[in-house]
Point group: C2
Chain length 329, copies 2
């Protein structure tokens, strides 16, 4: 409920992984390290830093082991990486990572296009990955795609999502992230969905992972927070998304994740503590823009933080009156 929101929430940035996943330019490891350090300076404790996907499929993350070797690891910071399969897990173990996210789509259609396997096959494959990851002391986030709708199959039954996730829980996953992969969820659906999920999975960490294709990202986080969810994924600059499913008429538009800067701005303005320094976060976002060489999607970076306006305009008004004159009648 809006009168009874949590005092604080956990914000997890995925810009260094999801934001770079489809970046055409190969970003040097040093620049990725700078980006992650900028996030650390802003106060992040949960950062998805890279992906142990096949370096042949995604060359952007071929440097995952090197990046983790060079990256300092402050006390209390949780780094995690995408691990799609056993080959990825073998590279992730002993890389210095704290946890993995295992992607699994809730529909066959999206799974086939995205990972060349059905959901049933992905679930069978997941069992070994999860048990081996847990043996290696890695925290496992089962990361569902298309949990709220699918650009290929359309409607996705929440009961089917629960059923799949029950199997992932039984396999030993620690946490469940629910991806609205192409921005199809609406706030009422989100509220109903998470009320059910929190009731069905009392022992697991539950998070949101919204994309902003139809502008509902922040409203959906608000609805999830009202339902009781306190962990929210987002990406610096509103980066991320899957152009390879978009290219084919199914998910055009911005595609990206909920924008970290805009989310932190909203939450801090609401008095929901994120532990993130908005000014330093905006700096991190500007660094990201420099790295990729183009403007990204944050609203608040352009408009400026609300708090910057508290008491800021008296001089402006004096100048205005000096320039144009003013005499109240």
């Amino acid at each position: 409920m809006l009168e009874n929101l949590p005092k604080k929430v956990t914000i997890r940035d995925m810009g260094a992984r999801e934001g770079l996943q489809n970046e055409p330019k190969q970003i040097p490891t040093e620049q990725k390290l700078e980006l992650i350090r900028a996030l650390l300076r802003a106060g992040f404790k949960h950062i998805q830093v890279t992906s142990f996907v096949s370096p042949k499929v995604v060359t952007q993350f071929a440097d995952a082991p090197e990046l983790l070797k060079k990256l300092e690891h402050p006390e209390g910071v949780f780094y995690w990486a995408t691990v799609p399969n056993m080959r990825g897990l073998e590279r992730a173990i002993d890389s210095g990572i704290n946890g993995i996210s295992l992607p699994i789509s809730m529909t066959d259609g999206h799974n086939i296009v995205n990972m060349q396997r059905t959901t049933a096959k992905a679930l069978r494959d997941a069992e070994q990955v999860i048990s081996q990851a847990r043996k290696a002391n890695l925290y496992v986030i089962a990361s569902t795609s298309c949990a709220f709708g699918c650009p290929i199959e359309g409607y996705v039954s929440p009961q089917k999502v629960v059923e799949n996730c029950k199997r992932l829980e039984w396999m030993g996953a620690n946490a469940l992230a629910f991806g609205d992969t192409t921005g199809m969820a609406n706030p009422r659906q989100v509220w109903n969905f998470y009320k059910m999920i929190l009731a069905e999975f009392p022992g697991m960490e539950i998070s949101t992972h919204f994309h902003d294709s139809r502008g509902m990202g922040l409203a959906n986080v608000l609805a999830a927070m009202e339902a009781g969810v306190t962990i929210h994924d987002c990406a610096l600059g509103g980066t991320g998304g899957q152009p390879h499913t978009a290219r084919d008429q199914y998910a055009f538009g911005r595609l990206g994740n909920v924008c970290t800067e805009d989310l932190v701005s909203m939450l801090e303005e609401m008095g929901v503590h994120t532990g993130i320094d908005l000014d330093k976060l905006i700096e991190a976002g500007k660094l990201f823009e420099q790295i990729v060489g183009r403007e990204l999607y944050s609203f608040v970076t352009k408009a400026g933080p609300v708090k910057a306006l508290w008491g800021g305009g008296k001089e402006y008004l004096d100048d205005f009156i000096k320039k144009f004159g003013f005499k109240d009648a």
Copy 2:
């Protein structure tokens, strides 16, 4: 509350007025008529069609009387126009308009920059406008600016807003619209604000008027709806906003109103009935883009309606499998 939202709400489009207010290109009357007709076809019953501001100050609306003469007026449709003062009201009376919105800013700083008068003076001026408008059978919407924060003065006390609005109610205004003129409001603030406003003004029509400078527009509508507000202003294509306050470092970014297309998409997806046909609304938005000669800000126009994806992708999947092959292990 999200489990108890209204079954239907009223959506008022302001694209033809606020969206054109700062448009540098003079739009021919015929094109404005086409735009309004496109909104009528989409199902709108409340349309702000023009402004009776001084034609010398805003040449864009010099054609207000002519536009209203040429505009058909279907049964049950409410047209209204901005009327800033008595001179405007004299032109509005007998123009064929149903109602007026009288702009009044909640801070001296913004009032001076925007209208060359203090709030106290604006309130004194309002009395005659409201009483004469009511005598002429015009419905009066008192349209507050900076009700949630001011780009010049910063914090705005809700009690001050209530006090000003009590005077406007006493003068005879029928309705109160609360403008978040430069997108500073957050959902918690909005919820608290409207809970108070609905309690303070039980006899008046209460609406929202959010700008989306920091991406919180839809989340704010959601919060207001949870507080009980059922009338929401927006502008086609996310147009609108005040570049003359923005030019001077105080309100950069998108500036525009909550985007009508994205709002209707969200509400209809949530099962909150708007009476608007989303496909025809998107057509109206595309017409607006043609008229102003540039891309506007709707997310859903780019991503496409969610409902277009229900069951839409089977052929795509078949094509994909034919092209790339697929054999589940």
